[in-house]
Amino acid sequence: MKLIFSVLFCSLLPALLLCQTKISGKVIDNSKQPLPGANVFIKDSYDGVSSKEDGSFSFTTEEEGNAFLVVSFVGYQTKEESIQLTGNDINIEIILEEEARELGAVVISAGSFEASDENKAVILRPLDIVTTGADADIYSALETLPGTQQIGETEGLFVRGGSAAETVTIIDEMVVQKPFYSSVPDIPSRGRFSPFLFKGIMFSTGGYSAKYGQALSSALILNSQDLADQTLTAINLMILGLGGAHVQRWENSSFAFEGGYYNLGPYFNMVEQRQEWDTAPIGLEGSINYRLKTSKTGMLKAFGSFNYSDLSLFMENLDDLSAKNYFGLRSDNYYSNLSYREILGDDWALFAGASFSLDKDKYDLNTDKVNQNEILNQGRIAVTKQVFNSSFITFGGEVQNMIYKNVFNELSARLDEVYLAGFLEADIFFTNDFAARVGLRGEHSKLLGKYNLAPRISLAYRLGTFDQLNFAYGKFYQTPFKDFLIQTTDFDYENASHYIFNYQFISDERTFRIEFYYKDYDNLAKGNLFTPPFILPAVPLSNDGGGYAKGVDIFWRDRETFDMTDYWLSYSYLDTKRDFINFPGLATPTFATPHTFSAVIKRWVSSITTSFGLTYTFATGRPYYNPNNPEYLGDKTKSYNNLSINFSYLTTVFNNFTVIFFSVDNLLGFQNIYGYNYSTDGTVRRPVLPTATRALFLGMFISVGQASPF
């Protein structure tokens, strides 16, 4: 009996010695929905369980005393609850908070389109830039988004009634002084930077962050790639020229160099051009790109590029039809950008950057010679501090030194600008559904000798899993054009106030966005610029201009309805009038039209490994200046239509992975007219037309030694 008792006692002994506590309860989210599959366990022990379909859990532990109950789940913040393990049953309800800025959390996004390959819901992917439109140019791809105007006669982004000069391009937090190749009258030039350089693109059509300034309308914020993925040699053969690149990847660094030569001569012989070219554009360019991972979280980036181009052409002289105007342009451009990012401690992040650029343009205008040299040095530093949860504040400053020399025959003018700016911005996540970005930016220009202070605010409120409301207000300042400042520096900043309200729905496969805006322009600079074709009575230099722009932008993208097909539709309505430069009063400028519509369709056909892209654009007519019409800018061109297609055929050539790209711009041959030029007396006029009715592009991009990208 004794023995039996002792055996019985023994078998109970482990349980008695190690007291067991039963823990049960339920895991739910903020809205009391059960979370199945959450991991519930005692910290530093193996004891735990996954929550069931109804969020409930129950397990026992032999641990004793003070302990922590940990609950973790994908997409939610891990929670630790202090508990006492005494052998008494514990019943506990755990509420998990969604991880902010995961898919589904509110995102501050009024006014902006983001393209990113990070794994979150965004409107565009970087690859969309390459496969949209006909020329694989960042800017022409962005022109398929609402808020932009279809301007074919010159380069630049014309956003919501703003001129191209009101859009700033920023690479790795620093301003790019010349994002485009140098300008030729009535011919648009391309963006200088390849879309492949960037991993993220943020295009703000208004209400952008206090981190940036000096743009009344819009900011294009580009983030360059980190370490290259692998060692690779590439050869590019194009109808317009050829190029090559080599990328070397080491464990913690990568180095790339790239070179190219282009000559449009052969292409111009093949596709007839309207212009009478003396020297078809030729160019030589090269770049180097270095990345160093300085620590687990630190990244140093250095980029430098050089570009030389030469072109000349004859243009009709409308005042003397027996003579021709000669236009020659030789350009040298150097650009460099150095930046460093690091995370310090648990909640500090540092950014430091410097950039140098030099642009030299030599113009031959009949017998006149014009030399324009522009140097831009800049430095920037910014610090971000995480405050609580996902909220953080960012503050920093930047300095820019711009030296501009303009020599017209014997006359010369020079500008020395020192621009200083400081900013402070807080991103506050009040809840997972409501967030605000509040910022303040102060600027000082040495040339103007004045300060400005620009408040910015952006609010976002999430309505459901996929949709949210956004609101933004901001004040934006810009120093008047250099062409004004070389006449006098007795100017004030131009400014604009933005009011933006938007609703957006973003699921994985569908996006809908409607945005209303009002933009109030004030202090726009007035006076004569020394640029044709505006030959009007002298206008005194002043800050007396102003104006407004209001409208609606609508965007719809759908990747779900049609198999392997992705399409988007954009519509913009714009109502704008302004008084600036030499306008006699408020008028709708030449770069604004009320209605613009774009449709982009892409389809991937895996059986022939080809991606097809089709872009159609329609825009109502734009005003043009007719000296015979007493109403200033009272005439309008006919409407604009363009259908462009592109094919990317993926294949291998001698076992090297190759993409063959072919595109046709204006496939259907619409006769588009961008405006009219008049002779001084108004008796002769000529339409401003595209350089050719259709533009073709054919290129072959070979990755040497890479058999398959898959």
């Binding site: 991991n39 992917r125 990208p709």
Partner: protein
């Protein structure tokens, strides 16, 4: 006396049952045995949670992190909800990076990194192949370099080649070469101990069977 002995034995048993040393292996073995039977996302996440608990308690062992990551990768392949795959892969990525920081130059860790890249690619092939195809291959190559006898890099590359169009050197013929090579290595493969990764052989055999069947069908036609 008898009682004392019995009680002493009892104590020893109790102590033995809860001794720290065997506990890790036991828990790992229990979880490993559950991998094969986890067919749906829910049970895969259950197993992942099990490994995560061990990982958090042990902290300096890379294998629990490795397996937790592995289970999240499998979940991302199994879950058909479009928006969820990346979330699992994010978590898989966190775990494999911890594993990587605990164990330097481990071939199996690079295999899994490559597999995560394959998972990323699968979510949005049109937009992601350029980046993640390369990331996957770079990791598999590294895995092979560290351990030339590891059968898994060739296995995973073979599977992805099988689904790659023939224009890019994909298709069943080149896939077969890799899978056969992988099988050769599987035949020689002996894990250091029973906790070390030892998965994939069955799929290789099944795929080879499937590939070998195809020519016969063609003949019939």
């Amino acid at each position: 006396m008898k009682i004392i002995v019995t009680i002493a034995i009892c104590f020893l048993t109790a102590a033995g049952m809860y001794a720290g040393d065997g506990k890790y292996e036991k828990a790992m073995r229990k979880n490993l045995s559950e991998i094969d039977s986890a067919r749906d996302v829910g049970s895969m996440l259950d197993v992942a949670n099990g490994f995560e608990r061990i990982a958090f308690a042990e902290k300096d062992k890379w294998l629990p992190y490795y397996y937790a990551s592995f289970m999240y990768v499998l979940s991302s392949f199994a879950d058909t909800t479009a928006g969820k795959k990346d979330g699992y892969l994010d978590k898989a990525n966190i775990f494999i990076n911890i594993a990587d920081s605990l164990e330097e130059d481990e071939s199996e860790i690079y295999v899994l990194k490559g597999m995560i890249a394959q998972g990323r690619l699968q979510v949005d092939p049109m937009n992601r192949w350029m980046k993640y195809g390369r990331v996957a291959n770079t990791n598999f190559e590294k895995a092979m370099k560290i351990d030339t006898l590891n059968p898994r890099p060739e296995y995973l590359q073979g599977v992805s080649l099988y689904y790659t169009p023939e224009q890019f050197g994909g298709g069943s013929a080149p896939a077969k070469r890799l899978l056969e090579k992988s099988l050769e290595k599987f035949n020689l493969f002996v894990p250091d101990n029973d906790l070390m990764p030892n998965w994939g052989r069955k799929t290789v055999e099944q795929m080879l069977e499937q590939i070998n069947e195809i020519p016969e069908e063609v003949k019939e036609e």
